[in-house]
Amino acid sequence: MPPKIKHRYTDQGKEYLPAAQFKIKHKDYFNWKYLYTLLHEWVVEEGWASRDDKTFPEHLYLHRETQKLGNEVWVYWRLTKQAVENPFWRYDLDIDVHVVGLKDTEIMFKGKKYKVNFGEPEVKIWSKIVFDHKREWQKHPIMSRLKRVFFRRIIKTNIEQHKKQLYLESYRLQEAIKTYFKLSTYLPEIEGQEFFEVKPVP
């Protein structure tokens, strides 16, 4: 009998609340290295990971080469961050990138030749708040019984505040990716407008 695949949270008795979930799919010319660097720099700057590659939570980087269809890339990042004021809360940010048909190509833009890629990247992002991630309450004989009431009644507004904060942070990441892809953005201040380079094609 094959082993059962365990759920990351529920099978370990962890409670979580989704804050945001979205995907961005873009089939056009772009630069894969820029996109990867943009995502990496953003998560490092926002405190989701350290710059040290050894500890960076990249769980998968799969690069599959094909002769005709172009390359395929899978990237899984599982980022976590402690809430500033209280270690009881943990924010989780899951980033999955899947690129298909990735090919090297060259384009002319304003009289200059650029080395770019053509392909279809898809960035999927999930952000969640995890409560009691160390399972201290879960293991405690009295606190485990109070947990439900505590979440539903006492810290309900606090949960909403944390959810809102994570929601905003997730959408700022979306804004940074959309700015790079030159897609419509909505936030009053465009994320990553000056620091990150935009793709070198109109």
């Binding site: 979930q21 979205f22 995907k23 089939k27 056009d28 979306q174 897609l183 909505y186």
Partner: protein
């Protein structure tokens, strides 16, 4: 058993908006988003897609989801699907000023869902589920039909109207707000 989610697709028809012409895409999307937020919905852009531009233009697709807690029992869900075909920039002179607008074919589909018992108070045993059925059918039936779903239905029509105004349609009002016509 009474349904836990009342879906307008099965109940009342919300017409889709189709448009072909010149419009300000950024302003349209920003105003739609602003309306959703101003009406106390939590805004989620669940999907964004962009396809490589052909000589006729690009193809873009947006899926939005707005969610609003009305009370501890009722939640509104607003599902919006926006698609642009042949999207490209055009320069237009309006009132003596040059403006960068967009030309495209556009489709906007709006759907509403009213979710009951979202906090799962009646989610436990079969007895509680039967109790929820009784509660929905006999106790809050009028509120479901005449207060929550009705109000949301007209809210969606107001949202519809906003899109029509932005796209400068000939009929900028809806059947329920004739006084503004």
């Amino acid at each position: 058993m009474s349904p836990k989610t009342i879906d307008y697709r099965n109940a009342r028809y919300i017409p889709a908006i189709k448009f072909e012409g010149i419009f300000d895409m950024n302003s349209l999307l920003k105003k739609m988003r602003a309306w959703i937020i101003a009406n106390w919905f939590e805004f989620h852009e669940t999907s964004v897609k962009h396809k490589v531009p052909t000589p006729e233009g690009a193809e873009q697709e947006f899926e939005w989801w707005g969610v609003r807690k009305v009370n501890d029992y009722v939640k509104y869900h607003l599902d919006i699907f926006i698609k642009f075909w042949n999207l490209h920039d055009v320069e237009v002179v309006r009132e003596g000023q040059k403006k960068k607008l967009q030309s495209a074919k556009l489709l906007v589909e709006t759907t509403g869902r009213v979710q009951l018992d979202w906090s799962d108070r009646f989610g436990g045993s079969q007895f509680l589920q039967n109790l929820a059925d009784f509660y929905n059918t006999y106790i809050v039936k009028k509120s479901i039909d005449m207060v929550w779903t009705d109000k949301f239905y007209y809210d969606i029509y107001r949202f519809h109207q906003l899109i029509k105004e932005q796209l400068d349609f000939e009929t900028k009002s809806n059947a329920y707000e004739m006084d503004q016509a």
